[in-house]
């Protein structure tokens, strides 16, 4: 795109850049794969949450990665135990199809709810959630795959098992119009690879959508995060680098600050 960002509303850029560890949870354990496949065990969700919060994580995201496929809502007990362990915002996603699913997660300790497949199936869900709980509570997760033949990105649903004939940027704009407060933008191509965030995607997306965008997929080093922020991300999500203890969040934030990124220390 390369378009000037001058027309964009300020504000969100005045806030601290957020570092958000992501816990993909399956059967009560944190797992991590590559491009959503080949999941390996990465630890206990409560132990990891406690460590990340202590290290200075700004928020946590917990996604029940098998919930939609198996047709159930995210593990309530795990949410409660994470809530009890942390004093930062907790976003929960996985299998949320209606207001009651969302309310159930909120009542068990989530602060924000992330929807993905169900919002693509029925976009009114975003309206219902933002009207009932507010935009600040309504996160839409986009799993995005780069198109092979032409330029652009398409939406994937059902944990990356289904391709939708839906343009990622157009869908992001629609989500914003329907009342989403935040977008969790995951590059399916980069997920778990450590090849760096898809900067082109982040740039194109944040030039077209003004609500806060959390970039996800591909982080391996501090320089990847610096690049994501300079491409327009308001927050970055990472999993493997934290699970594998390649770097602590504390050290990462210290390095980001040195690079001139305004983080909460």
């Amino acid at each position: 795109m390369g378009a000037s960002l001058d027309w964009k509303m300020a504000g969100v850029d005045m806030l601290k850049k957020r570092i958000i560890p992501c816990l993909d949870v399956r059967d009560g354990r944190v797992v991590k794969g590559v491009q959503f496949m080949g999941l390996r065990d990465a630890g206990d969700p409560v132990e990891l949450s406690t460590r990340y919060a202590d290290e200075g994580a700004d928020e946590l995201v917990m996604l029940d990665v098998s919930a939609t496929i198996e047709g159930r809502v995210a593990l309530l007990e795990t949410i409660e135990r994470i809530r009890n362990a942390i004093a930062i915002p907790l976003t929960v996603g996985g299998g949320v199809r209606n207001i009651e699913d969302a309310r159930n997660l909120l009542n068990h300790g989530a602060d924000k709810i992330s929807v993905n497949s169900a919002a693509v199936d029925r976009p009114e869900l975003i309206v219902e959630m933002s009207q009932t709980f507010g935009s600040q509570c309504t996160v839409v997760a986009l799993d995005v795959k780069r198109l092979e033949q032409t330029s652009g990105w398409q939406i994937m649903t059902r944990s990356g098992t289904r391709s939708e004939s839906l343009d990622a940027i157009a869908w992001g704009q629609q989500c914003q119009g329907l009342g989403a407060g935040e977008i969790l933008l995951t590059s399916f191509d980069r997920d778990g690879t450590g090849n760096g965030y898809d900067c082109e995607l982040i740039q194109a997306f944040t030039a077209a959508v003004s609500i806060p965008t959390i970039a996800s997929g591909g982080a391996r080093s501090t320089k990847d995060l610096v690049a994501a922020f300079s491409c327009g991300a308001h927050a970055v999500l990472a999993a493997s680098i934290f699970h594998d203890q390649e770097i602590s969040i504390q050290e990462l934030k210290r390095q980001l600050a040195v690079e001139g990124i305004d983080v909460r220390l």
């Binding site: 300020a10 806030l15 009890n84 915002p89 909120l106 989530a110 709980f133 507010g134």
Partner: protein, 203 residues
């Protein structure tokens, strides 16, 4: 129920995080819309998520609007969070025909149109340097999720400020009444300390 913190049930507010924060500080809590309990409790928290109009309608329906007014007028401990702080005010641009509790002589206004709303994320909070308020509640970084705010410090209240498209009032205090526009319960250890100090200082 003397030592139990009463959290006012506003219907839509998600109060789990507040309850967990209180438990960490070794305080039991109870979610209630019983005006007797709210009137007699040592500590009362007015949380709030949702709109100004819905929030006030809920407080009138349960008869709690007067209970809260009486508590604050008598100088009894109240901690208002996020929308709760806005409900203490005279009125809000969010719901122009609805009167607030009128305890905080201020009008709630939408953020300047130059900034994205809601303000969603971490921002700096600081009271006037060297003030007593600042000594008790040192500057820090807080988690915000709001589209409306008070622009100016009401007379006779201690204020802390945050910048988002211009300076606004992110916390106020007078006696035992403390109110935050941010979410102390989601603002890490620094935020937890706000709740802890309010609980101790007003005991």
């Amino acid at each position: 129920m003397r030592n139990v913190v009463q959290i006012i049930d506003t219907g839509v507010a998600n109060v789990r995080s507040i309850q967990v924060a209180l438990r960490r500080l070794s305080f039991e809590s109870n979610i209630s819309r019983d005006s007797n309990l709210i009137a007699n409790a040592k500590h009362v928290i007015l949380p709030g998520v949702g709109s100004f109009g819905t929030g006030m309608a809920g407080l009138h329906e349960s008869g709690l609007a007067e209970t809260i007014q009486q508590r604050v007028e008598c100088g009894r401990p109240l901690f208002a969070v996020c929308l709760g702080m806005q409900l203490l005010c005279l009125e809000s641009e969010e719901s122009p025909d609805v009167l607030g509790l009128g305890l905080l002589p201020a009008k709630v206004q939408r953020f300047d149109t130059s900034v994205q709303v809601p303000q969603l994320g971490w921002n700096e909070v600081a009271a006037e340097p060297e003030s007593d308020f600042s000594k008790e509640f040192p500057p820090g970084v807080a988690y915000f999720a709001n589209s409306f705010r008070i622009a100016d410090c009401p007379p006779d209240w201690d204020c802390a400020y945050t910048d988002y498209g211009g300076r606004f009032v992110s916390a106020v205090r007078r006696g035992n009444c403390l109110a935050c526009q941010f979410h102390p319960e989601l603002s890490g250890e620094w935020g937890q300390a706000w709740i802890g100090k309010w609980l101790v200082s007003t005991c």
